[in-house]
């Protein structure tokens, strides 16, 4: 794969731009993973700090969102090791968010809560592949797992979501 020419701008400029372009999606990814807005904001900060520090190692072979998602999911995994946020009321957690700027529909809550309730290992694969749009190979690399494991976890997650969500797969 051809490498992109390294960005010569100072890291603060590049990271600021990355935050404006991809920050919303990274913040939402962290929230659904961690179930907590404040922790998600911590994870956002840590993700972009790591991006800043590691910018010299980002050679542009990957899409920036792929690279950032990879960092974010690992930051979330580290934060998740704290025991105290494991039993969060998902409904309350969603209610704590700022009002949506785009009108939401009732099934959005149901779907998001079902994803939030998935076991962590299934949830992280679903978020990387279905939400941030990583290829399955990229998700495997990001999580340090094999490609068959990604498929297996996605299938398992699909099975659970199909059971819980009437209309999963159907256009709403």
């Amino acid at each position: 794969m051809a490498r992109r020419v390294p960005d010569e701008r100072p890291p603060d400029q590049v990271v600021g731009e990355l935050m404006r372009t991809h920050g919303d999606r990274i913040l939402r990814l962290c929230f659904v993973y961690l179930h907590d807005l404040h922790l998600a904001e911590d994870a956002l900060q840590e993700t972009f700090l790591k991006a800043w520090r590691g910018y010299h190692t980002f050679r542009g072979d990957a899409d920036p969102l792929t690279w950032l998602s990879r960092i974010a999911i690992n930051v979330c995994k580290d934060l998740h090791k704290s025991a105290w946020h494991r039993h969060v009321n998902l409904a309350l957690s969603l209610d704590s968010l700022p009002e949506p700027s785009t009108p939401a529909i009732e099934t959005d809550d149901t779907l998001i809560k079902s994803v939030m309730a998935l076991p962590r290992k299934l949830r992280e694969v679903v978020l990387l592949v279905y939400y941030t749009g990583l290829e399955k190979e990229e998700a495997a690399k990001a999580l340090g797992i094999s490609l068959p494991t990604v498929y297996r976890r996605l299938n398992k997650a699909q099975d659970i979501l199909k059971q819980e969500l009437e209309g999963w797969h159907d256009e709403t």
Binding site: F31, G133, G144, R153
Partner: protein
Amino acid sequence: MMKPEQQLKTAMDRRLSGLKVTDRHIQQVMAKAQEKPKMKRNRVLIISFAAVALLGTAIAASLPATTAWFQQLYGQKKAETLQSGTLMPMHETRILGEVQYEWLETIHVGDTGQNEFITDSNMLYGTVKITPANGANLVLIPEDFRITDPAGYHIFMGEKAPESAPSYLDLAKEKDAKIVLAKAVPHGILIDGVLQQGWEIGYSYAFDHDGSLHYYFEIPMVKTMPEYTILMRINNWVITREGQWLREEPHNTWLKEDWIVTIKPPKQ
């Protein structure tokens, strides 16, 4: 029909549309990134931190390194799970350049009859200790850290360094030593006669206050076998005092090796 990924993306971007990165978030990152490492001495803090560290060591002293680490990460229940497994002490060593890798032990936890997705059923754990070989004058640094980070503190896991804590760079200057980034991460395991590379492997690392590193690993879905053959990838390279990784010509210092080890459980 809407594909699952479209359904989830649409729902999340709609319902979570109030979650946006603001200038405040960006300024926080900018401010944090430009914080300089604090170098002022504070002996009291060092002593109290050392006391806590020693206390932790004392509590964990009776446990194998692997069990102690996972206990620290996940708590007593996890430690009990590892203690219920088969401990295979090893102390196999390998020297790569100026770095010594000592594989301390491997622990296998067999089938607990629970779901493999979310439990510790059929897991293999282990620890490799990394030290300078033959008294080499090195400062070892694990991955993810900058040379200006406080040496020996796992800041990414919430460990707070006292203001006085010297950085890896400070130590290197003090000892007139090279800074070497060293790793030991399993890259494969033999299952049913086939080396499974890219198998799902987790790893983490920690420091000892003597400057050595410990790399810990966990490999899921490993059923009980008469022996376990693991491909451990060890590598190391020099980081200059300007923070540059010497991994490319003409100053390439990157050494790497696949260390294949077969471990047999002790006879009952």
